[in-house]
């Protein structure tokens, strides 16, 4: 009697073990697999992809993003999330796109082949846009922490999201700021005919007109030029109150100088391409009084900023470079969607991600129907005593 019950127990146990191993084999073909933790508990492993430039001139920014994702995953693992009835461990698969669009698509395919549940990346708009098609075709979510080009979410891909305000949102804030806060009615607009500069200038013009400003002229340059005296002289003849330029710092720097040399005393306003140290050094004394915007908020103004800064420093023994809080938020948003859906299957969690409400470090993460962040915040800065001084943040928060 005793012997027989033991036999039954072993047989049952054998079937159970066989069943579990078969199940885990099946699961290994999906996005997750199971392992056994030290205390004998069944664990499921979910892979999350990260792509950014880990080599090359902006390698420090790519590594910064990777650290943000890493921190989010480590915290989720420490909290011991249970998804689909199983304790889940997140693992990062990180790839280097070198900031190169071509390499971006190659590593995107590699990430897809590695059976990730979702991707955080890429860093540049130029790599994010071509890679987004590959993620869309594979049906997995992509959340970019820092790509701001409007076209990224314009392609109609239900898998593409971003946690930073795009160039259209930035242009709208700038246009409103120019007319309502700086009280400029007569406005001249310059752009460099690039996707970024033209896009930003177009959105600025729409918003400025809507706010009651008058765009008196639209002037153009191109990215090879450093002489703007001709268009600035023309603008001066129209006596504007404000000049907006959708250009990068390598152009707005010298432009600012020629601006003052020509005796043009209008307010100078520009976008995030100019809200840099480089602009300050190139324009020198002429930079004084110039305004520019940048997506997001300065770290110390973020709701969870100070706490995150400390956590980051403790973990990585270095300072935050730039976009780490956004990468951290992007990763946490994805994890929250997976958790709420109780599934790592993109088909199940994607509709939930699209309607998510996540309280992040940089602010509240909610997406609109295109996948752009709702009410993404834009901060405004002014040059005072040769430094960028924070003025205010528009949008975001709530």
């Amino acid at each position: 009697m005793k012997l027989k019950s033991l036999q039954v127990f072993f047989r049952n146990a054998f079937v159970a073990v066989l069943g579990i191993s078969l199940l885990s084999l099946l699961a290994a073909c999906g996005e997750s697999e199971e392992t056994t933790s030290e205390d004998g508990e069944v664990l499921r492993v979910v892979r999350i992809g990260h792509v950014g430039p880990l080599t090359g001139p902006i390698a420090h920014l790519g590594k910064d993003n990777e650290n943000g994702v890493k921190l989010a995953l480590e915290e989720a693992n420490a909290a011991g999330l249970v998804i689909g009835g199983k304790k889940t461990r997140f693992e990062m698969v990180s790839e280097d796109d070198e900031g190169n669009p071509q390499k971006g698509t190659v590593v995107a395919q590699k990430i897809v082949d590695a059976d990730v549940a979702g991707v955080i990346g890429h860093l540049n708009s130029g790599t994010t846009i071509p890679a987004s098609k590959i993620y869309f075709d594979a049906g997995i979510a992509q959340i970019s922490p820092s790509a701001t080009n409007v076209d990224y979410t314009k392609q109609g891909y239900k898998t593409a999201f971003r946690v930073m305000a795009n160039d259209a949102q930035q242009g709208a804030v700038l246009g409103d700021f120019a007319v309502k806060k700086l009280n400029a009615k007569r406005i001249a607009v310059i752009d460099d005919r690039s996707a970024y500069g033209k896009g930003l200038a177009d959105q600025f013009e729409i918003a400025a007109k809507a706010a009651g400003g008058e765009v008196i002229t639209r002037e153009f340059t191109d990215m090879t030029k450093t002489d703007f005296t001709a268009i600035l002289t023309r603008i001066k003849g129209m006596s504007p109150e404000l000049v907006f330029c959708g250009c990068l710092d390598s152009q707005t720097g010298p432009m600012m100088k020629q601006f003052r040399n020509l005796g043009l005393m209008a307010i100078f306003l520009s976008g995030d391409g100019s809200q840099t140290k480089q602009f300050l050094t190139l324009a020198g004394d002429s930079a004084e009084g110039a305004y520019a915007s940048s997506p997001g908020v300065p770290l110390d103004k973020m709701p969870g900023g100070p706490a995150f800064t400390e956590k980051y420093k403790d973990t990585f023994k270095q300072e935050i470079q730039l976009y780490a809080p956004y990468a951290y938020d992007a990763a946490n948003t994805l994890i929250a969607a997976i958790q709420q859906a109780d599934s790592t299957d993109p088909e199940v969690y994607l509709p939930i991600l699209a309607n998510i409400q996540h309280e992040g470090v940089s602010g509240n993460v909610r997406f609109d129907e295109k996948g752009d962040i709702k009410g993404g915040s834009i901060s405004l800065y002014k040059v005072a005593d040769g430094e960028w001084e924070y003025i205010e943040t528009v949008g975001g928060g709530s």
Binding site: T229, A230, R234, D249, K257, N261, L262
Partner: protein, 309 residues
């Protein structure tokens, strides 16, 4: 009216630099029939060397008046560019002097790419800030403004051009250059050291280019490894416009191109009722070039030269 005057001043500043660089193209073309595409890069190297010397000296020689530092920097830039141009001619052009004309043209383009990349490796991809050489306080003349530096650009360019014309027309070296330009073989038979004269032509052009590089970098307070490329192309255009091979033509072409660009950008919008904007600045400049070449294929001041056999 003051707007027009301002645009003319803008055009003169821009044009003076084009003219200075165009002289380098036209001198070499006049003697060798070769378009030295690496000349734009020589201009860039001039700016970079001057910047490096200035940074070095302001760091080590405290208390030295800025004028001395600037002079030393320009002298260094001129010296390096002269040596560089000599080396380019010796390595990339002289061995191909009797080769088909396409071959040295290709080595010229190769030289240009090589120099750009070497500069990128040495000085990096970053835009560099060129120090302020003069006060930026603008002067107002009849409603138009001009800075000290812009006055210096016009005056220095004019002086160098006059100096070059005097050198070519009134000195022994100049006579040898003109002789070589007319016929290398006969000049050689007459006792002119053709190799030496050709080297001298390259070296003089490079010296002018180095000065132009420093002036451009100072004017926009920016230096970058790619700055010579577009400038070189514009200067080459100016040389063709004025009549390539002709020194006066290069000066005229440069000034004209500068004026066309600046007045074009300033008034295209008004003339066409806003239909065409300032992005047609370059289109306008090249349209003028095409028109001139259609009616005067040798450029404004160019003379008809018999095709070489």
């Amino acid at each position: 009216m003051d707007i027009l005057l301002q645009q003319i001043l803008n055009g003169l500043v821009l044009g003076s630099v084009y003219a200075l660089v165009a002289l380098g193209y036209t001198m070499v073309y006049g003697i060798l029939g070769l378009i030295n595409f690496a000349h734009g890069e020589v201009v860039m190297i001039g700016a970079m060397i001057a910047l490096a010397v200035m940074t070095l000296l302001t760091g080590t020689m405290v208390g030295v008046p800025p004028v001395v530092i600037v002079s030393l920097a320009i002298a260094a830039a001129i010296a390096v560019c002269m040596a560089l141009a000599y080396a380019i001619e010796r390595v990339a052009y002289r061995p191909l002097r009797n080769a088909p004309r396409l071959a040295p043209l290709i080595t010229a383009i190769g030289m240009s790419i090589l120099l750009q990349n070497v500069a990128m490796v040495i000085w990096g991809r970053q835009y560099k800030t060129f120090p302020q050489l003069f006060s930026t306080q603008p002067h107002t003349i009849a409603g138009a403004t001009i800075t000290d530096l812009q006055i210096v650009i016009i005056v220095v360019s004019a002086a160098l051009m006059v100096g070059l014309l005097a050198l070519v027309n009134f000195t022994r070296l100049g006579r040898a250059m003109r002789a070589t330009s007319e016929n290398k073989t006969i000049a050689g038979l007459m006792g002119v050291n053709v190799d030496k004269i050709i080297s001298a032509t390259f070296v003089i052009g490079a010296a002018l280019g180095a000065v132009a590089g420093v002036l451009v970098a100072a004017n926009y307070s920016i230096a970058h490894y790619s700055m010579g490329f577009m400038l070189g192309l514009k200067a080459f255009t100016a040389a063709v416009l004025g009549g390539i091979g002709n020194l006066g033509g290069a000066v005229l072409g440069g000034l004209l191109l500068g004026l066309i660009e600046s007045i074009g950008a300033g008034y295209i919008g008004d003339v066409t009722g806003g239909f065409l904007g300032s992005h047609y600045q370059d289109v306008f400049a090249f349209l003028v070039l095409i028109l001139v070449l259609v009616f005067r294929p040798t450029g404004i001041m160019g003379e008809r030269v018999a095709e070489r056999a």
